[in-house]
């Protein structure tokens, strides 16, 4: 809770006048632009609650306004919620000593353990996917059987309100499990989990994100929300599930179950954990779409801000194993053991058509439309999310909102099927043969879209013959579904966005196909609807999530078709470009609204003239190499110093290293005072490892007044060679250091090697966009 990773953010807590000093010291720097200065000072003069974040967060006008709105509601909570991860290895004396004792074969063994962990992650992610898949299938069949029976009975007996109520009741019942679990046990499990994982891999520790309870809530929640009929998919949550599994397995222990093994103890630090979480996310994608390569690329493109080449191969093994574990288990479930035909949670079926070169312009236009439609989706969802953050704060209100959405989903589906007059004779192999108000021997075409899981709907839109679904039916389906899924994403239930986007896109893509066929009914190239549905689905998805290479590969792998790679790439690129003209991708939008200090791909534009001394927090709180306990305590207890690293100086004031807050807490708790211990006695490295990752607050450390006069020798524990910059370093340079090395603290030195300040992730994040743009 305490750490913010910045020295200036602490002021948000303190209601005293000290904050305006802090704010003004930024504003009074020479090189800061005029507008910027005035805005800062006006804020510091105005409401004492307003912080600098409102100004710096984004140049985008709409986002800025919303953040202003949201700021009041979320500032107090969010600003302190996020810690940065410590990726920098602390090469202190303890570490060096341990490494000296290690032989080459020990080192080999650790390397081997990495491979073993990756294999375990892959296999267990695959198994989780199997559990999710089978449970959803069974629950869905059960639910649909009950409703269908009631419908068949009531069409004759004039009691159609019975199946409607039944459907609503079952939806609400099933979804309430997901909502209650999410809201009361692990709120971080809500949504698709991709934004959270993205933040984690970027270097921000979102609380609880990789805890076991999040995994439990995610798995149970996604089963309930999908089979409860919400407009969500189960693919996004797989990525989060894989990440949690990875974080759990790599530690070789579970704090929740008080289970502790001696395995993998070398991996108990943020750096190793992040690598494994990367692998877990890849395994999740791989299991979700049957796309091992797509999984690796997803980790590379979307998630990891810095990439270790050696990691690629391990992650690839992990994703392959995940996909094939799922494949094998599903083949056994379907009574064809060994028939590897079920690579992913979603199966798009076979695509065997081709396209003509002159169709590319058509696809291009579809890409543009996908970008527009995706941008509209994000804009609407943005408004809804802002409203939710502002007003829907009470927990029970959140649950009620979920239940209302699930009731409405059922009602819309029922009413749409009821109103649909498009009946087709049986015998053309539809997936769902719901008769409803149709004559005997016919089925309701709307039923193939609404009366099933979204995945099956996608499949119908992809593969049903030309003419099997009327254009009117598709329009009646896609318009409500668009708004429904827009409304659903961001609810407090685990929910994937891929499938709803694909469904919307496949629907309008098919409409395009029908139009093309109407223009040229006898042309060879307009007979194949699956082509247009697929391209539409890709365009919509690309316009919403704004991924390019990984999405292309995922779709190629999921459809098993390389023929469409060029059109897919074209539409995804075009959709991303068009969408980016209007707003950010949906995940980035949610990251921004959650006010997570995430570092973008690029440093702020035109910011070379901003220097370290403007960016850094100052004055930096420093400690002496041998400090008085009371000094340490007062530093730790001052909320202004809640960034977690403190530069250590020698008696002349020269910089000697960096010590972390967590290290100090452990030292205090174990009372390793100079006066109390034998010379040369030190805490073991294992003590630090065992406390990771859940540290205790300062309040449980009892220091008597007598002990306050003792000293702590920090020299064996401090990191003697942390990264430093001179105060003239430019913002882009600092940014690249942070981004490439995953830094948490960067000490700023002046010409005399004296510490003048410290830069943290949040300090950079605040400069997210150049003040010039504002």
């Amino acid at each position: 809770m305490m750490d913010v990773g910045t020295s200036t953010t602490g002021i948000n807590h303190s209601p005293t006048g000290s904050e305006s000093d802090n704010l003004l010291h930024i504003g009074s720097e020479e090189n800061v632009h005029e507008e910027f200065k005035s805005s800062v000072s006006s804020i510091s003069r105005g409401s004492g609650l307003k912080s600098t974040h409102t100004v710096f967060i984004d140049s985008n006008q709409s986002v800025k306004e919303d953040v202003d709105d949201v700021a009041n509601a979320v500032r107090q909570r969010k600003a302190v919620d996020f810690e940065a991860l410590d990726y920098d290895n602390i090469e202190n004396e303890l570490h060096i000593e341990e490494e000296r004792k290690m032989t080459y074969s020990d080192w080999k063994w650790i390397q081997l353990q990495r491979w073993i962990v990756c294999m375990m992650i892959g296999i267990s992610t695959g198994l989780i996917a199997v559990v999710i898949n089978i449970t959803i299938m069974q629950l869905m069949d059960l639910k649909m059987a009950v409703v269908e029976e009631a419908i068949i009975r009531c069409v004759k007996d004039r009691c159609l309100y019975v199946p409607l109520l039944l459907w609503i009741a079952m939806n609400v019942g099933i979804v309430s499990i997901a909502a209650l679990l999410t809201v009361f046990v692990a709120p971080v499990a809500g949504g698709s989990g991709i934004p959270q994982i993205k933040c984690f891999l970027n270097g921000v520790k979102v609380p609880d994100v990789v805890r076991l309870k999040s995994l439990f809530v995610k798995v149970v929640g996604v089963v309930c929300s999908v089979s409860g009929g919400l407009a969500v998919g189960k693919e996004g949550p797989m990525i989060h599930s894989g990440a949690v599994l990875a974080a759990g397995i790599s530690q070789g222990r579970s704090i929740t179950f008080r289970l502790k093994t001696r395995f993998f103890k070398h991996f108990r630090n943020d750096r190793e954990k992040r690598d494994f979480v990367c692998a877990g996310a890849a395994a999740g994608v791989s299991a979700a779409f049957g796309a091992p390569v797509g999984g690796v690329l997803f980790s590379l493109e979307e998630a990891a801000s810095f990439w270790n080449q050696a990691l690629t191969w391990r992650i690839f093994l992990c994703s392959i194993l995940s996909s094939y574990t799922l494949n094998l288990c599903m083949s056994i479930y379907h009574h064809h053991p060994g028939d590897m035909a079920y690579p992913g949670l979603i199966n798009f079926g076979k695509f065997s058509g081709t396209y003509e070169g002159f169709e590319l312009p058509v696809f291009f236009v579809m890409g543009v439309f996908g970008g527009l439609s995706g941008a509209a989706f994000i804009a609407i969802n943005h408004k809804i999310t802002v409203y939710r953050i502002k007003y829907l704060t009470a927990r029970f209100i959140k649950v009620i909102e979920v239940l209302i959405v699930s009731a409405i989903s059922a009602t819309i589906a029922f009413v749409m099927i009821y109103l649909n007059t498009d009946c087709k004779p049986l015998g053309e192999d539809p997936n769902v043969e719901l008769q409803f108000m149709c004559n005997d021997g016919q089925y309701n075409t709307m039923g193939t879209l609404f009366f099933t899981t979204p995945e099956e709907g996608v499949k119908s839109l992809f593969h049903d013959q030309l003419g099997s679904i009327q254009p009117a039916t598709i329009i009646m389906f896609v318009v409500p579904y668009f708004f429904l899924s827009c409304w659903t994403y961001g609810l407090q239930v685990p929910s994937g966005l891929f499938i709803p986007s694909l469904l919307i896109g496949a629907a309008w893509g098919r409409l395009v196909g029908i139009c093309m066929n109407a223009i040229c009914p006898d042309c060879d190239w307009t007979q194949d609807m699956s082509k247009y549905a697929l391209i539409g689905a890709a365009a919509q998805l690309g316009g919403t999530v704004r991924m390019t290479i990984s999405l292309t590969v995922i779709l190629i792998e999921a459809t098993g078709n390389i023929t469409y790679s060029l059109p897919l790439m074209t539409v995804l690129l075009v959709a991303k470009w068009v969408g980016d003209l209007f707003n950010k991708g949906i995940y980035d939008m949610h990251v921004h609204l959650a006010r997570v200090p995430i570092l973008e791909w690029e440093p702020p534009p035109l910011s070379t003239n901003i220097h370290a001394r403007e960016v850094m927090g100052k004055p930096a709180v420093t400690l002496k190499e041998v400090s008085l306990v009371s000094d340490v305590c007062s530093v730790l207890s001052d909320p202004r110093n809640c960034h977690s690293g403190y530069p250590v100086t020698d008696s002349e004031g020269k910089f000697r290293g960096l010590v972390l807050r967590t290290q100090l807490l452990i030292l205090l708790k174990h009372k390793t005072f100079v006066e109390r211990s034998a010379p040369g006695e030190r805490l073991k490295l294992s003590v630090f490892r065992d406390t990771y990752p859940r540290y205790f607050p300062l309040s449980i450390v009892n220091v008597s007044s007598e002990e306050e006069q003792c000293h702590i020798d920090l020299r064996p524990y401090l990191n003697p060679a942390p990264y430093t910059v001179y105060e003239h370093a430019s913002l882009p340079k600092i940014f690249h250091l942070f981004r490439a090395l995953g830094l948490r603290h960067l000490v700023v030195l002046n010409d005399d090697f004296k510490v003048v300040g410290i830069v943290t992730r949040k300090d950079i994040w605040k400069w997210g966009h150049h003040p010039k743009d504002m």
Partner: protein, 311 residues
């Protein structure tokens, strides 16, 4: 699409094959067109010769001396006849769909001959029919044809209508009891339709249900319908049954208008209105509640406590 192309190809090649055999067996004059050619000796001595044949008997002899042994040749002819008969039967029974029922013996004979060829692996090259017939060339017409027949049979789920018993290496196909019963019920229903639905012109769309048919045949129809569903649950439906039932249902629904669904009396709309009003209530309520705080001037205090609770 692949399957379709493939089956089309198979069908064409099969027709060609059967035509040629037919022509070879039917008339002497036409047979001359077909066997004329060069045959290469099997011993590898490249002893090639050219000979024309004018009668069926001669032709057979000629083929015997070719690379394919006479036994194998006989099997090939048997297979050709069997497949031709099966295709003939299937296409003839395609509409209304009854080939599972009517072509099962043809299907079995195709299988039998194929099995003989497949299991015939002689010691030397010349008597290995499997090799000489199935894998002799790059088209592999026999194999393709056989796969096509299997494809039709499987796609139609024909096996599900039969009780297949196996006794010492021979499979016996007997129509299942449920199949017979269901077919009889559907037939009864259809004959009821034709008895009472005399005045109905096919294709003429009328709005009013045909009262005579509806009232007289409803019992038969419902019984058939219900029994169909039980059979469906047992997974014993083949295309014959599915197709007959579908068309019976279509007759009932479209031709005679007997299955008019009961429109509801507005309850759905009441429920829908109620459900749709819920979110409006929720959102407006929450919004008003939040803004009330502002109006009362306690905004800061109240908001803080709520945020604390939220954490």
């Amino acid at each position: 699409m692949d399957i379709l192309n493939f089956s089309l190809f198979c069908l064409l090649s099969l027709l060609r094959l059967s035509q040629s055999f037919a022509s070879a067996t039917e008339t002497n004059t036409s047979s001359s067109q077909w066997v004329e050619g060069t045959l290469v000796g099997s011993s590898g001595n490249e002893k090639s010769y050219r000979r024309e044949c004018w009668s069926k008997k001669n032709c057979d002899k000629d083929i015997m001396t070719g690379s394919v042994s006479p036994d194998c040749m006989r099997y090939l002819e048997q297979f050709s006849n069997a497949t031709a008969k099966f295709i003939n039967c299937t296409v003839a029974n395609a509409r209304p769909l009854h080939y599972c029922e009517n072509c099962v013996s043809e299907y079995m004979s195709v299988n039998n001959v194929y099995k003989i060829i497949f299991n015939n692996e002689g010691k030397n090259e010349s008597s290995n029919c499997k090799r000489q017939i199935l894998r002799a060339d790059n088209v592999q017409v026999v194999l393709a044809t056989y796969n096509f027949i299997l494809y039709i049979w499987d796609k139609s789920k024909c096996d599900q209508c039969f009780d297949v018993t196996e006794s010492n290496d021979t499979q016996i196909y007997k129509p299942a009891e449920s199949t017979k019963k269901l077919l009889a019920m559907i037939e009864n229903t259809l004959s009821c339709f034709s008895d009472f639905g005399q005045g109905v012109v096919p294709g003429l769309v009328t709005q009013d249900p045909n009262q005579t048919v509806c009232s007289f045949c409803v019992k038969l129809y419902c019984e058939a319908n219900d029994y169909y569903e039980t059979v469906e649950k047992e997974n014993k439906l083949c295309s014959d049954l599915i197709d007959s039932m579908n068309y019976t249902r279509l007759d009932w629904g479209q031709k005679f208008k007997c299955s008019v669904a009961q429109k509801d009396q507005g309850e759905i709309w009441e429920i829908a209105a109620l459900v749709f009003s819920l979110p409006i209530l929720l959102y407006v309520g929450v919004w008003v509640h939040a803004n009330q705080d502002f109006l009362l001037g306690h905004c800061g205090v109240i908001r803080h406590t709520r945020l604390d609770n939220a954490e």
